[in-house]
Each structure stands twice: as C-alpha cells, then as structure tokens.
C-alpha cells in the first residue's frame, strides 16, 4: 500500500474518517476498512468467511451511507468482522462487494469502539480526488 488508506477525524462525541483510493471504489473499500479499524484491531482478524454485500441508493452519498450501514448489519446479526473488501461492481447508485473476515471471537479479537451507524453529517464523496468523508455515531 503506497498510500494511506484513511485518516481519523476528531469529533467531540463521535469519530469520523476520510478514506482515499486510486479509484472511488477503492475509497469506498478503504472507508469500510477504516470503520472496522475503529471497531477492532484488524491485525487479529482472519479471512475465514466471506459475504457478498450489496448497496443501493439514489446517489453516491447515499450509497456510501448504505454500504457502511449494511456492513454493520452483518456485525450485529452474524457478529462478522470484515477486513478485506473487493468491490466487484461499482456504479453511481449500486455496489456489490465480496467482504472477507470472520465471526467475532472474544478470546482473540479485541473490540475497541462500538459504531452505531454512519451518518449523513458532513458526508462527502469526492469523485475527482477519489476521497470520501463520513462521521459515525458512536
């Protein structure tokens, strides 16, 4: 990785991030990686399982919101922690990704901060710079 995938943004009550990529799809993948880095130490997560995750929305901003929140659904329902995101289809209003990770194992995974949701507050998708910004409700 030649470039930093994401950086965290300070926010009094919550945490945000700016994610980068060679393409916008990669920035979306890196935003997901950043979100799971807030939740756990991804070094301890292995790629044992995969899920194909889809997101649909009316625009790119909505797509980012939907994508990240769909991943949180898998965390709540299947306790899945993801660490790799291969985006296989990426459009203005739709994305499909193969996500790799494993179920939470309290003996090996150190969970850090719970993320309730991605928010629309200051959410930004920069299509020319391949950069996205999102603030989470913690």
């Amino acid at each position: 990785m030649s470039r930093k995938r994401f950086r965290l943004i300070e926010h009094t009550a919550d945490i945000g991030l700016v994610a980068y990529g060679e393409s916008l799809a990669e920035a979306f993948a890196n935003a997901a990686y950043g979100m799971f880095s807030i939740i756990t130490d991804l070094g301890s997560v292995k790629e044992k399982e995969s899920r194909t995750v889809e997101a649909k929305a009316d625009d790119r901003e909505g797509l980012l919101f939907e994508w990240l929140n769909n991943l949180l659904y898998y965390l709540d329902v299947e306790t899945l922690l993801f660490r790799r995101f291969d985006i296989i289809e990426f459009g203005e209003k739709y994305l499909k990704a193969d996500c790799y990770g494993e179920k939470h194992d309290p003996s090996r995974h150190h969970l850090k901060t719970g993320v309730k949701s991605a928010t629309y507050h200051r959410l930004e998708v920069d299509e020319t710079e391949h950069k996205v910004r999102v603030i989470f409700d913690i």
């Binding site: 965290l8 300070e10 926010h11 009094t12 009550a13 919550d14 945490i15 939740i39 929305a57 009316d58 901003e61 909505g62 919101f65 939907e66 929140n69 949180l72 659904y73 965390l75 709540d76 329902v77 306790t79 939470h104 309290p106 150190h110 969970l111 850090k112 901060t113 719970g114 309730k116 949701s117 928010t119 629309y120 507050h121 200051r122 959410l123 603030i135 409700d137 913690i138």
Partner: protein, 485 residues
C-alpha cells in the same frame, strides 16, 4: 476546530440567543442554556452552528434550543430541543438520533454503603456476569419467531409479562414503557434481525450500570417521595438504548427522508437534518417505527432491571422485597413526541424532538405517575463514571420555556480519539479505584474514551437548569461501582 464567530446575545445569566438574522433561512432564534463558565467550551466547537441549522426546519416554534450539556452532534447538536407545529411542521429522525430511546433508569434499595461496600467486588462480578454487555454481546433471551413484534408494541409490559420485573415498574416508566401508536409493520426486517439477538443487552460506548450512594440531599421532602431516604443509601443507574434495532430504524428512515426533502421541497443546511412533514405518510411511518424502537429500548432496560435485582439478591442473600430495588423512574433522552404545550397563550399539539434532552414535566401534569403528582417528574442526569450524578424534578418554568425539557447528562468536551491519546485505560481504571470506584469493563480503551476528563462537570450543567428554572435539583449520588459495556 472552528470557533463560533456568529452573534450571541446574552439574555440573562443562563440564556444566550443566536438571533434569527444570523443566517438567511433561520425561522426562529437559537437559544443556548449555559453559564459564563460553560460557554467557552460550547463556543469552541460547532454545536452553536448546529443550533442555528435546526432553526431552518419548517414549523419550528419558539426557538431552536440547546441545553447546557450541548455538544457537537451530527445534524442536531446533542442536547437539542426543537418543537414543531403539526400542521406545517416536520419530524426529523436526526432530531431523535440513531439510538432511539436511549435513556436512564434509577432503582432505589434498602441497603446502605456500609452493607454493600465490603461485598462490592462480588456485586460487580454478579452484575457483569448477569447483564450481557459490551460490543458483540448476545442476549440471554430467546424470542419465538415473530415475538419481536410483541416486544415492539408492548415494550416494558412484554418484559414484565415474561417475568422480567414487577408490574409496578410500568407505573414509574415514562410512557409506562409502552408508547401507543407502534406498528411493527413499519419496522424493516433488517431492523428486527438486529434486534432479536440483542434484547437484554447493555451495549457499549457510554452505556453503563452504576451502583451509587446517595451523596447529598438538597430537597429532603421531594427526595423522600422518590424513595431516596438518607445519605449513604445505595442506588442503581442503568443507561442504555434500543441497540441495533433502533440504529437500523434510524438508518431506514433517514434514507426515506433524504428522498422526502426533495419531494416536499424542504431545504436543510445538512443532510443529516433530513425531515418530512409530520403529517406526511413518511413522517407518520417514521413516528410509528420510532415508537416501536422506543418500546424495544424500554423492554431492554426492563429485562436488565430484572437481572440487576437478581444480582443484588444473590450477593446479599436477600429476598426481592427486602432488597427494595423499586424503580424510581425511567426517562428517555432521545425521542420525538406529540405533546400539548402553550403557544402564544393557546394550547397546541407539537412534535417535540429531544436529542440528548430529558422531559421535565411539572407537578400535577397528567403524564406523570400519581405518586409524583406533588413533586414533579423525576429527571435522571448521569455524570461521567468518575464523578457524581443528579436527580432533579420538572417545573412549570420548563413548560413555559423549553416545552417541558431539560439536560440529559454531562456532555462531552474531549473527542474520543483525543481521550484515548491522552489517557490510558489502565490509568483510568487505577484512578477510579483510588476514588473507591470498582469497575468491570469489557475493554480498557473504551474506558479511556469515557474518562471524567472527557466530560463537562455535570454539577455545573444542572446548576444552569436550576438557575434558569427548568428543573429543580433534588439529590446527588456518587458511584462506587460501574459496569461499562
């Protein structure tokens, strides 16, 4: 971080106004409750801008208000109160938040610190083991297929009917723990999927169980009515919400509202303020789903209450009755409600958003429990885990000024990332131990995020609410044991 550059007019020692002329599009002024002491923190971040932004929302009445624990949120500031007319006003899921009906309940006991302190380790272990907490925790409750719908309509009553708690608990819960007008058909299957495994769990973040001692009683007569009899009495606080179910309901409807702002031609300065007319089908659907999530949160706190009682009884070998453990009250601090208020001398129904704010109804109000008719609605204000918490009651002045609302907690002053950089979980744990506070926490980094230094002094916050007249300070408690999710 941006510092507030806009205009701010001092109304009195506790109230500061952002005039509606500050930004084109503000329909009413912003009104911040704060002391001179608290103001610099508030103005050092973006919360005042958010107060001004909320003033854009159609149908807003009076002012876009901020309680003294205000801090930078997403969309709405945390500590925000906004009341909208039903005819031309809007409802905004962002004005409730993702953790719908995050709230606090307070239990009283017949025990004193002298009895509990020698066994505090056992008690904290029992609480930590009996109440599932922390990120990724699964509940102990197994719902039948479709039973989640009953939880969403009946709330606390579902829990009591299934053996979690006492029938009288319902009397001392806001809305009796069961908001009417909750139809589970308006809640997505994704939200229900998230809710099923998490019922009866504390969660993580700032959610906690706290064993506390009554530290000071300011209004003995009122305190006695609330069952707070003496200094040194052991109390218990529960702070949690609607877990993934509430988060998903908020997500689902925020998406819906982002569409609705175009449909209804509403302009908002931040998409997180997305909203829709209260009377629109989208607005009604949101309110119905939000009530379901609120009922889930009440059922959640009710189940936790049952395990808290079991834990006390186990450790102190007491019967349920001898332990006391009556529910003093349960308040929600993330909600939108249709309530009747005086507007320009006339009674009018309004949609009151409280986002990190607590209802503060006065003595005699029909919505409060009979036993509290003479003293007013109890208000539970947890501080941070190393310092004190307060019990207040509501006032007539709150009805006149803030649509019957007051603050909800201490309010953060330090970001989570800054807190983690500055403080190590282990040191926070040691410092709490030095202050006689026994902590059980799932993770130490999370503990640092919630350290005292990250919060305002809750004492200063409640003083503002009393000074402004919107609540009355009854008693103070200090923690001796904390379970952090």
């Amino acid at each position: 971080m941006a510092k507030w550059q806009g205009p701010l007019e001092k109304l009195d020692g506790y109230r500061w106004q952002i005039p509606a002329s500050y930004k084109k599009g503000m329909r009413v002024p912003g009104l911040i409750y704060a002391s001179e002491d608290l103001l610099p923190e508030i103005l050092s971040e973006e919360a005042p801008e958010q107060v001004a932004n909320v003033a854009f929302l159609p149908g807003i009445v009076g002012a876009s208000m901020a309680m003294p624990d205000i801090h930078w949120g997403y969309g709405f500031a945390i500590g925000g109160v906004a009341a909208m007319r039903l005819d031309d006003g809007v409802v905004s899921p962002g004005g409730v938040g993702f953790d719908i009906n995050c709230g606090v309940r307070l239990l009283r006991t017949n025990l004193t610190g002298d009895e509990v302190c020698p066994k505090i380790d056992d008690l904290m272990n029992a609480l930590y083991n009996n109440v599932p907490s922390g990120l990724g925790s699964k509940g102990k409750i197994r719902l039948r297929s479709g039973e989640i719908d009953e939880v969403l309509t009946k709330g606390s009553r579902w829990a009591v009917e299934h053996g979690f708690g006492r029938p009288e608990d319902l009397e001392t819960t806001e809305e009796k723990g069961e908001m009417p007008g909750a139809d589970p058909a308006r809640v997505s299957s994704r939200a229900k999927d998230r809710g099923v495994p998490q019922l009866g769990t504390l969660g993580s973040g700032n959610h906690f169980l706290e064993v506390a001692l009554v530290d000071e009683i300011y209004e003995p007569e009122i305190a006695a009515v609330l069952g707070m009899d003496r200094v040194g009495q052991v109390m218990l606080l529960v702070h949690c919400g609607s877990r993934g179910l509430g988060h998903q309901v908020a997500d689902d409807y925020i998406k819906e509202m982002v569409r609705a702002i175009n449909k209804y031609h509403i302009e908002v300065p931040d998409r997180q303020l997305a909203c829709t007319p209260v009377k629109s089908p989208e607005g009604q659907a949101y309110l119905v789903a939000m009530r379901c999530a609120a009922n889930y949160a009440w059922a959640n706190r009710q189940c936790i209450t049952h395990w808290v009682r079991e834990s006390f009884c186990q450790v102190f070998e007491l019967s349920d009755k001898d332990a006391g453990l009556e529910l003093v009250y349960d308040v929600t601090h993330n909600i939108a409600k249709i309530e009747e208020h005086q507007v320009n001398g006339k009674k009018e129904k309004l949609c009151v958003h409280r986002k990190g704010a607590t209802r503060a109804f006065p003595p005699g109000h029909p919505e409060i429990p009979k036993q509290y008719a003479e003293v007013g609605q109890p208000i539970l204000i947890p501080g941070d885990m190393g310092r004190v918490s307060y019990v207040l009651v509501g006032t007539e002045e709150a009805m006149r000024q803030t649509f019957g609302s007051t603050c909800h907690g201490a309010g953060r002053v330090m970001s989570r990332t800054a807190a983690k950089k500055k403080l190590r979980g282990r040191d926070v744990l040691d410092s709490l131990a030095k202050h006689g506070i026994t902590v059980r926490a799932g993770n130490l980094a999370g503990l640092a995020e919630e350290a005292s230094d990250a919060y305002k002094d809750v004492g200063k916050v409640v003083e503002v609410t009393q000074g402004a007249g919107i609540s009355r300070i009854v008693a103070r408690t200090r923690p001796i044991g904390v379970v952090k999710g």
